[in-house]
Assembly symmetry: C2
Homo-oligomer: 408 residues x 2
């Protein structure tokens, strides 16, 4: 028996199940895999031997299509961090590889972000150390688009489309009154401003965009921000500002940090929120006009009803490509995207070395940010634009989209 296993990890996206579908499709089509296990709750499911058989659970084309348009990890997720693959971690890795052997698992696929790629990398290092022939391949996903060694990440395009659409709709909403008003839209992105940049996408088409866009890649100055807004209010009633949750001042202090209790997640990242609220209070105090902040929150990562068709198609393709890599003998790799050209948009799958990927953050290049540090350039938007193209057609029942649920 030659079996394979796939898990999902990290935060939800609208496209992570499309990549899962791609892995299932390619494993089945290869004819080389007897059973493809789905590991529930990421790597935790392997410790618990908590699996399903995905060829049974996703039996046909209808099921694949429905899965591809269902948001968040259908197999569940985890934020478990593996120990270093050295003597210290020996017990953990020995246990994992015993379970792989017990279930005749030869291929391991893990769909996730930076931390998940770190997990795949460690497993491949351990496999090398013990001369195991199990192949470990990572499939990227993150709305943040901050993984290195790939042109962009699956899930980003759908979040981008949702954010750009929602910002355009909110701009319509804000411009109905003639009283001076400031609307601050807080967008996810701890270290990378890609998602916040997307707020301005409609600018290329119809000129609709937030007046200012602040990314975490450059130092944020409250004084400059207030001055930007005051100046804009001289010629316009409704000012819309998009701001990344991760903006920080020249000393690296997060704008939203003052209202935080300093808690960190399992990977030591600080929890952030309140950047929009903090700026709202500052505008109220220093400008005194009507002001509102909107935190788009988790909607931006799970709004699969407005997924980008390009993103969903690519996410399926990269899942399939991961299987190709594994079957051709690769291990310790990530299935990635390589952009051949932007106009016309041509993108192909490519192999990336996980040794270089893990935990490196890819930020928005500084040339994509205006010299005033309060907006993104047209070149930035032209780079993002291909990723939001095309609409999906989720199945609706009783007026609501149908989700594909895998019982855990």
């Amino acid at each position: 028996m030659i079996n394979a296993i796939v898990g999902q990890s990290g935060g939800p996206t609208a496209a992570i199940n499309a990549s899962l579908s791609g892995v299932i499709r390619a494993c089945r089509e290869s004819g080389k895999i007897d059973t493809l296990f789905g590991s529930f709750y990421g790597i935790q499911g392997i410790f618990d031997e908590h699996f399903c058989s995905l060829f049974d659970v996703v039996p046909d084309e209808n099921a694949h299509r429905s899965l591809e348009l269902t948001p968040a990890s259908a197999l569940g997720s985890c934020r478990k961090k593996l120990p270093k693959p050295d003597d210290e971690g020996a017990e953990t890795y020995t246990k994992l590889f015993e379970i792989f052997d017990k279930h005749e698992i030869k291929y391991f696929f893990y769909i996730g972000g930076n931390d998940s790629m770190d997990t795949v990398h460690k497993l491949s290092v351990w496999a090398k150390r013990i001369n195991s022939d199990i192949r470990f391949i990572g499939v990227p996903k993150t709305i943040d688009n901050d993984l290195s060694l790939t042109d962009h990440t699956p899930g980003f395009g759908s979040a981008a489309k949702y954010l750009a659409t929602s910002c355009a709709e909110m701009i319509r909403d804000t411009e109905v009154y003639t009283t001076d008003a400031v609307t601050i839209i807080e967008i996810m992105g701890r270290d990378a401003g890609w998602l916040t940049a997307c707020s301005a996408l409609a600018r290329l088409t119809d000129g609709t965009a937030p007046d200012f866009v602040y990314l975490p890649e450059v130092a944020f100055s409250v004084d400059a921000f207030i001055s930007d807004v005051k100046e804009a209010l001289k010629t316009k009633h409704n000012i819309v500002v998009a701001v990344s949750e991760g903006v920080r001042d020249e000393n690296g202090v997060y704008v939203g940090e003052s209202s935080q209790s300093g808690k960190t997640d399992a990977f030591g990242h600080k929890y952030l929120s309140g950047t929009g609220k903090t700026l709202e209070e500052i505008v109220r105090e220093r400008i005194g006009c009507k002001v509102r902040s909107v935190e788009i929150n988790i909607l931006q990562r799970c709004a699969s009803h407005l997924s980008s068709k390009t993103d969903i198609d690519e996410s399926v393709a990269v899942g399939k490509y991961a299987v190709e890599l594994a079957l051709s003998g690769k291990t310790g790799s990530m299935a990635a995207f390589e952009r051949v050209s932007t106009k016309p948009y041509v993108c192909k799958c490519a192999e990336a070395d996980l040794d270089k990927v893990a935990n490196a953050v890819r930020s928005v290049p500084l040339e994509f940010i205006t010299p005033e540090k309060n907006n993104v350039t047209d070149e930035c938007l032209e780079w993002i634009m291909p990723l939001v193209q095309g609409e999906v057609s989720p199945e609706f029942k009783n007026g609501l989209p149908v989700h594909f649920i895998i019982k855990r």
Copy 2:
């Protein structure tokens, strides 16, 4: 010359421009109106004689369709309150009626919520007082569904569809981890819980719903809420709670009030926000598990990309019906909906007397709320369900929905 004028007022909805389109369609089709003025920024545009000619601005079927799927008031809005139509207000009304006469306006249509219907009512009272033959007709709109004398309000169905879909997507998002977590979704609705009730719509189809739904129609008890959540956490990791921004305790104190500065809007309504955040802090303190609050904020009223086709079609129809009423000699009326049956859903337009409509709030009936006061009944959801049926097909350009912009 026989001219007409139409304005929009109050907060945005996804369907208010569909009603505007209906008014334009019916005025044009009647052959009885020479010019249909669009008043910019509601009633304020009349004082300023700030008009456009809508037959020119919306010339063809393509323009109509695009307008119908553009969110928020295309003509702009206002929150201007007219004085009482008695001696005290004489100066204001005299000025308004002089402008009507100057532009040979015989028909006035106003699309808005409770406060806007109050404006229409006052104008019709003044007209009667001075024996003017100008007809004043209101066209309802509000996502809140809280207008009396109509089965439901245009705009509510689209907000309902967006909220139900977003809640189902957020439930997918929250259920990926196995750690105990509480997600609190704060939904608009100062006095009426209709929108919050919609969070549970998917329950009728696939069992997906928030675990608890708290409406402002019944007294909210923090102790009962904490007890509900604690009990639910015994059998489930991820608890999702939908709560109306307007919930208040048995003494009428808003849960979100403590964090407010007591500001009120032009109509004396208290600004509310922070209900979700307040409950988040309480859960953190009294239960201690992971907790997050999501304030859906203005997205729920402007997400026209996910409008309900039923809502858009009905909003056009009620705009047309308002013109029919006016042309048949009615005044001081609101074009309303009368539900003939729920299964199958049959709804027709009907006339309502603005004398009875203005400023009466229609709440969720108590029989639609469970005895435990922590959820809505299936009957409630069956009542709402027809209003979210059908999907619209907005035009997309460069991957983003196209909006119809009227230059002001």
